[in-house]
Symmetry: C2
Subunit: 337 residues, 2 copies
DNA sequence: GTTAGCACTCACCGTGCCTAAGTGCTAAGT
DNA sequence: ACTTAGCACTTAGGCACGGTGAGTGCTAAC
C-alpha cells in the first residue's frame, strides 16, 4: 500500500467530488482515472484514508467524500495553483483598466472576482496606513452648521456635517481652520488625538467652545472609518448552490451583511508561502459559516487589506486560489500606478 | 350574494393565507372568522371571486390563494394601514437618533427597516437636487497628481485623484483654483458644464492644458454619482422564506446587486394617496423578480429619493406599508434637522 | 501487496393504498 | 333570491412495500 498512491487516490476523490457533487466510489474511480490497479486495491486505500480521517462515507454503503482535513491536505500538499486561462487574464485586464476612482475600482474588482469564481467575493477597503494630515477645510453651511473636511496625504477624504453649540462668523471659522491646520499639518492620523490634547495655540478665548467641538470631530474623522468597510458581490451564487450547504444559507447571508464579522474574519487570515490563505469548513471561526470555506489574500503596497471569496467547502480550490491571487495582483498594480 | 360579504371573504382569505402559507378552504374560513354564514355559502362566494380572477385554487381540490389581482384589490380597497406598535416606534426612534453622518444614517435606516418587516430593505441616497457649487479644492499630492474636491452647498462632497499631463507648481494650481472657483461659485451643479464651456477668465495661457484636465474632472464630479446608489439589508430574509418564491432566489439576489435595476425599479414607483407605492407580483416590471412585491415611498424634502422593501407576493401588506411609511417619516425628519 | 469474488447494507424509486381536506352541484329551506 | 345541508367526486400527501443498484468489507487465492 504505497504512500504516494494513497495521496493520488485522495486527490482523485477530491477532484471527482468537487465537480460531480456526489460521493465517489472505488469502481468509478478506477474508470475515470487510470491508476494502474483494481477497485479492490482502491478500497483498501480508501479504508486507510478513512482511518486517518481524510474521507468519510455519508451512509454505510455509499462512496466517500473528503473531510475538512482531507481538503486541507489536498490544498497544502497535493494541488498546484492552476494558471488562469488567457480569456480570464484578458477579462481581468479589460475590466479593471477601464476603472475610475477608488470606489469604482473596488466595485469592479469584487464583481469580477465573484464572476471568475462563481462564488461570493468580498473585499476590504485599503488601509490608510501611515497617512498624515494634509488639509483641513471648514465650510459654513448654515449659521451653526459646519462641514468638516479632513484630507490625508494619500488622497483619502473624510467629511461630515456637524452642528456648533452657538453661531460663529465666517472669519472666526477661517481663523480656527488656520490654527488647527497649523497644529495638525503633517501629523499622522493616528496621532491627531494626542496632538490636539496638547493644545492649539493662537485661538481667541471666545472661540473655545467651537474649537472643542471641531477638534472632537477631527479626532473622529481621523479614526479610519470607511477603510474599515467591506464590499461584496455574487451572493446569488450562494443561492444557486443550495445543497452544498448543510443548513440554510440565511445565516451565511446574515454574516456577510455584518461588516464586523467579515472584517474580523479577513483580518485573521494569515498568508501562507504561496501568497494565499485558505480556511476550510470547521477552520472558519464562526458557527454561522459552517460548511463554508474562505480563500483570501492581501493586496496593496503592504498587502494589509484583504480580498477573497467565500464558498461551499466543496469548492475548486486550485482555480479559486489562482483567481484570487491574480485579481489581487492586478489590483495592487492599479492602486500603485 | 352580497357584495360586501364577498370582499370580506377576500380579506379573510388574504389574511389567513399570509400568515399560514397554506391555501385556505371554506370550512376553515367560517371557523376562524365569525362570518354569520355556513361554509356552503362561502363556497359560492369563493366561486364568484375565482370567476373574477381574484383567487385561484392551486389544485383541483384544495383551498384558494389570492392572485396578484386579489392582493391588489385587498391593498387598494380593503386593508387599512396598521398603526405601529409602540415598541416599534421606540425602536425606530432610539436607533435613528443615535446616528452620525449621512452614511451612518442610511446604513442604520436600511437595517432597521429590514428588521421591522422581515424583508429585504432597499434605500436610495438622497438626490443632490438644486445644489450649487460652494467650494473647490485642489490638493497637490505628487508632481502630477492632484486631488480634486468639489463641495456643494447642501453638504455633499465629491472627490477624486487625477493625473495631470505635465508638472505644475503649487502656486499655479492655487491660481487655477481661484479662477475656477470665481467662475463656478454659486452655480447649480447641473450647469457646471455649460458655464465652463463659456470660458474661464484670468488663466495664464501656459496653464491651458492643466485647466482643461481639471475642468473635465469638475464636470465629472458635478454629475451625481453617489446619489445614484442604493443600499440594502436583510437578504437573509429572502433565504429564510424559500418556498414563497416560485423558482430560486438567486435571480432575485442578482437583481438586488444590480444597482441599475433597483434604481430604475424605485424610480418607477408612483406614490398613491396614502403616501406609499405598492407593486404586486406581475406588476413588478422585471421577470427575474417574479413572485415578489415591492413596497416603497419617498423621503427627504421633496420625497424624491426612495426607500422601501422587497418581499414575496405573499406578504403582510398593511404592516409592511406602515413600517415603510414610518421609517421614511423619521428619516425625513432627521435629514431636515 | 494485489486481486477476484461474494455476501451484505442501504439510499432511492416506483407502486399501490388510504386518508383528510376541499370542492361543485343539487335539492330543500327561508 | 339567497342560503344551507348533504353528497359524490377529486387529489395531495403520507405510508408501507419491494426491487434495484451502487458501494462496501472481508476472505481467500495469486
Amino acid at each position: 500500500m504505497s504512500e504516494v498512491r494513497r495521496l493520488e487516490v485522495l486527490r482523485a476523490i477530491v477532484e471527482d467530488y468537487v465537480h460531480s457533487r456526489e460521493p465517489v466510489g472505488s469502481k468509478a474511480l478506477v474508470e475515470r482515472h487510470h491508476l494502474g490497479v483494481s477497485s479492490a486495491t482502491i478500497r483498501n486505500d480508501m479504508a486507510a484514508l478513512e482511518e486517518e480521517g481524510l474521507i468519510v462515507a455519508p451512509h454505510t454503503s455509499s462512496g466517500r467524500i473528503p473531510t475538512d482535513k482531507g481538503y486541507r491536505l489536498f490544498v497544502d500538499r497535493i494541488s498546484d495553483v492552476k494558471p488562469l486561462s488567457s480569456a480570464e487574464r484578458r477579462a481581468i485586464q479589460t475590466l479593471l483598466d477601464g476603472a475610475g476612482d477608488l470606489d469604482d475600482v473596488m466595485d469592479r474588482t469584487v464583481r469580477l472576482l465573484s464572476q471568475l469564481t462563481n462564488q461570493v467575493a468580498v473585499i476590504q477597503y485599503p488601509h490608510l496606513g501611515r497617512a498624515k494630515v494634509r488639509h483641513i477645510e471648514f465650510v459654513l453651511l448654515a449659521p451653526r452648521q459646519v462641514l468638516v473636511v479632513l484630507i490625508a496625504d494619500n488622497g483619502k477624504v473624510e467629511q461630515r456635517v456637524i452642528r456648533l453649540p452657538e453661531d460663529i462668523a465666517e472669519a472666526d471659522l477661517a481663523d480656527l481652520r488656520t490654527a488647527l491646520l497649523g497644529t495638525l499639518a503633517g501629523v499622522p492620523l493616528t496621532e491627531v488625538e494626542a496632538k490636539l490634547a496638547a493644545g492649539v495655540p493662537g485661538v481667541a478665548a471666545a472661540q473655545d467652545e467651537a474649537l472643542r467641538t471641531l477638534s472632537a470631530e477631527l479626532v473622529h474623522l481621523s479614526v479610519p472609518t470607511r477603510e474599515e468597510r467591506i464590499l461584496m458581490a455574487g451572493t446569488a451564487n450562494l443561492a444557486r448552490s443550495t445543497g452544498d450547504f448543510p443548513l440554510s444559507i440565511s445565516p451565511i447571508l446574515e454574516a456577510l451583511e455584518e461588516q464586523v464579522v467579515m472584517l474580523r474574519l479577513l483580518s485573521e487570515m494569515q498568508l501562507d508561502a504561496r501568497g494565499v490563505s485558505v480556511k476550510i469548513g470547521s477552520e472558519v471561526p464562526y458557527n454561522s459559516l459552517s460548511g463554508t470555506s474562505v480563500v483570501a489574500t492581501g493586496y496593496g503596497p503592504d498587502a494589509s487589506a484583504k480580498v477573497g471569496v467565500l464558498g461551499p467547502t466543496r469548492m475548486d480550490y486550485p482555480t479559486t486560489m489562482a483567481a484570487v491571487r491574480a485579481v489581487a495582483r492586478y489590483l495592487s498594480r492599479i492602486l500603485a500606478g
